[in-house]
């Protein structure tokens, strides 16, 4: 029986084909994979097993197949704002952070680097480490919302976990698309998106609609928004976000007792513990 990946993450096993008298008969089981981060007050919680988790799909409790105890290789995409706020010093800091991320990647991992201002540019395609990138500084406006929209377009990859890390100051000055488009598209996205938000001393970022969107994107995909006052703490923030993703659990289940279409809200808890559980908020059932 072939298991089909419905959403976000990876397939478990390429299934077998049952031969019937009339010809090849294929049955199919859909599998959903959800990245889940569990923290106590100070750090990620390791060592949890399948029995520690409770997951509901559209309010219906699901039987978990696995909690991803085997490490999976990662596909990491670093998306970097190179617009007007990018100084030469900041560029050097970011490139250093990228090198440090590269140094922590395993040989089976892959990484790509994308930069954006009004234009989104693939600086380095997805490939195995090491990563050496010289960012193209391009003073201009910032199309953060368009960039987020493009970053939401991805397909689940067999046997790999996908992690998107976006570095931005949260300002959008030139996007064509609106936040609603991103919010709709992110329901279909694979992988987890986290954001490193460099405030640069601004205090009123709450009034910027792009900030709300960043929170929505991270929340929906199970990621987080990490706010820095300045770019100096960038390397540590990059590495911490990557480590947390690597240490997160990958819960898989076959949707049971729920419809086979549309958006499925998912809730994950660890009953009996005061942990902070961060997980993708749902998935779109792909036909």
């Amino acid at each position: 029986m072939k298991r089909r990946l419905v959403a976000v993450g990876l397939t478990l096993v390429a299934g077998t084909v049952v031969h019937a008298q009339q010809g090849v008969f294929r049955a199919r089981t859909d599998v959903v994979a959800i990245d889940v981060s569990v923290r106590d007050a100070t750090k990620p919680v390791a060592g949890l097993t399948i029995g520690d988790f409770h997951l509901t799909d559209a309010g219906v409790t699901q039987a978990l197949l696995n909690v991803g105890s085997d490490p999976m290789p990662l596909d990491v995409t670093l998306t970097i704002d190179v617009s007007n706020s990018m100084t030469a010093d900041k560029q050097a800091t970011i490139e250093r952070a990228i090198r440090q991320v590269s140094a922590t990647l395993k040989p089976d991992d892959r990484c790509s680097v994308v930069s954006f201002e009004t234009h989104v540019l693939e600086e380095s395609p997805l490939h195995h480490p090491p990563l050496a990138v010289r960012l193209t500084r391009r003073p201009g406006n910032t199309s953060l919302i368009d960039t987020l929209l493009l970053s939401m377009v991805s397909a689940p990859v067999v046997g790999r976990r996908q992690f998107n890390l976006i570095l931005t100051d949260g300002i959008d000055t030139s996007s064509f698309f609106d936040t609603d488009r991103v919010k709709e598209t992110m329901k279909y996205a694979s992988g987890q998106t986290s954001v490193i938000l460099v405030r640069g001393g601004r205090k009123t970022i709450g009034e910027n609609p792009a900030i709300g969107l960043l929170n929505d994107v991270a929340g929906t995909t199970g990621g987080q928004v990490v706010a820095l006052e300045q770019a100096e703490g960038l390397s540590a923030a990059f590495l911490a976000a990557l480590d947390e993703f690597r240490m997160s659990y990958l819960l898989t289940f076959t949707p049971t007792g729920v419809s086979r279409e549309g958006w499925h809200p998912v809730v994950v808890t660890v009953p009996g513990h005061r942990y902070t559980v961060r997980a993708r908020q749902g998935y779109w059932f792909a036909r």
Binding site: H119, V120, L150, V153, T173, F176, R181, A286
Partner: protein
């Protein structure tokens, strides 16, 4: 006149040593201004004689003295009439808007005043009438290009009666004024929704911001009505309908917007074909992602280097469940060159895209 010290750097509470650090600049005196004005008169004379490049060559970086002298030169109500004076003022406005000085309406206003004072009334000289109509279009087009919508509204108000007479006298002469009036109403009522992030100078505020709105009260419905009126002119039809559709789209009236787009004929102006396709994509994106992808793809065919429609295609395909096609489209979008041409800003800048051509026509008419 007693000369006064002008503090160039303005900071509250400057005292003592701090104040001594501040650079001071004295304004030019009457004698200096008069001398400079005479020099500028010679430049204007050469322009009138046929040296159309002299403004760009000699006056691209005006200082305080030149601006003061130019003001006196162009605002001289006793100067003899010559159409070249008005067009010269336009060229000054065009050249200085790209320089270190911020754009202002001064030069455009002086040229408008020169035309208003011409001895022959509208209808008495076809060439002069043509020059005046083109002049107003250039002025409005420049203001549209800068996103100076309050100034655009003020200019249209001040020039309105003369534009009415010109249109009444030459009903068969194609002009852009009906479209400009509709755009004015749209930007009075609905600038926040229509200006878009691409729009330069949206925050520009002129002293005419406090003027009352025109009546009837500007509204999306009234602006749409004016655009549909403008669409009766074959030369304006495509643009008028696309702009009307854009208003309806931004105000959430999808069915009306699509109906307006369906009335446009393409291929037409590529800027408008692109805008129509992008607007259509945005309308269909809500609930028909497959068709939205087709619309964005059409925009990409018009402007293959533009990244925004490529992003639209990718995202729409993702929502349509065509994940592999979407991923390929996203890769294509990310690999587009950074300097690809995107027509959308030109759509937002409206008539600014014709300014160069109109100035060329004015130069020809001066011969």
């Amino acid at each position: 006149m007693k000369r006064a010290l002008i503090l160039v750097a303005i900071a509250g509470g400057l005292t003592g040593a701090a104040a001594a650090q501040v650079r001071v600049q004295q304004p030019p005196g009457p004698a200096e201004i008069a001398d400079r004005r005479n020099e500028l008169q010679k430049i204007l004379d050469q322009y009138a004689a046929g040296d159309r490049e002299i403004v760009a060559r000699s006056l691209s970086t005006p200082d305080l003295l030149t601006r003061a002298a130019m003001r006196e030169l162009l605002d001289n109500k006793d100067a003899p009439w010559h159409p070249a004076r008005a067009v010269f003022a336009l060229e000054i406005a065009d050249t200085w808007s790209d320089g270190v000085w911020s754009f202002d309406m001064g030069a455009l206003g002086y040229g408008r005043g020169i035309l208003e004072r011409r001895p022959t009334p509208i209808g008495g000289n076809t060439i002069e009438d043509r020059i005046e109509l083109l002049y107003h279009q250039v002025a409005l087009g420049m203001l549209e290009g800068r996103g100076s919508w309050p100034a655009h509204h003020a200019y249209l108000t001040l020039a309105g009666s003369r534009l009415d007479k010109l249109e009444a006298k030459y009903p068969k002469v194609s002009n852009r004024v009906p479209l400009m009036r509709a755009l004015d109403v749209a930007m009075v009522c609905c600038r926040e929704k229509l200006a878009g992030n691409f729009f330069p100078g949206t925050a520009t505020v002129s002293r005419s911001d406090s003027r009352p709105a025109p009546s009837p009260t500007p509204s999306p419905e009234y602006a749409t009505f004016l655009f549909e009126q403008a669409a009766h002119s074959p030369a304006l039809q495509q643009e008028a309908l696309v702009r009307a559709a854009y208003i309806q789209h931004r105000y959430g009236h999808a069915a009306k917007a699509l109906a307006l787009l369906d009335r446009t004929k393409s291929p037409g102006d590529p800027i408008l074909d692109y805008a129509a396709a992008m607007i259509r994509g945005g309308l269909l994106d809500r609930d028909r992602p497959e068709r939205a992808a087709e619309a964005y793809a059409e925009a990409a065919r018009v402007a293959p280097g533009a990244q925004v429609p490529a992003i639209g295609v990718a995202a729409a395909l993702q929502r349509a469940g065509r994940v592999e096609d979407a991923t390929r489209a996203a890769e294509h979008a990310r690999r587009l060159p950074v300097d690809g041409f995107d027509p959308w800003p030109d759509f937002l800048r409206a008539d600014a895209r014709f300014v160069r051509s109109w100035i060329s026509q004015l130069r020809e008419l001066l011969k």
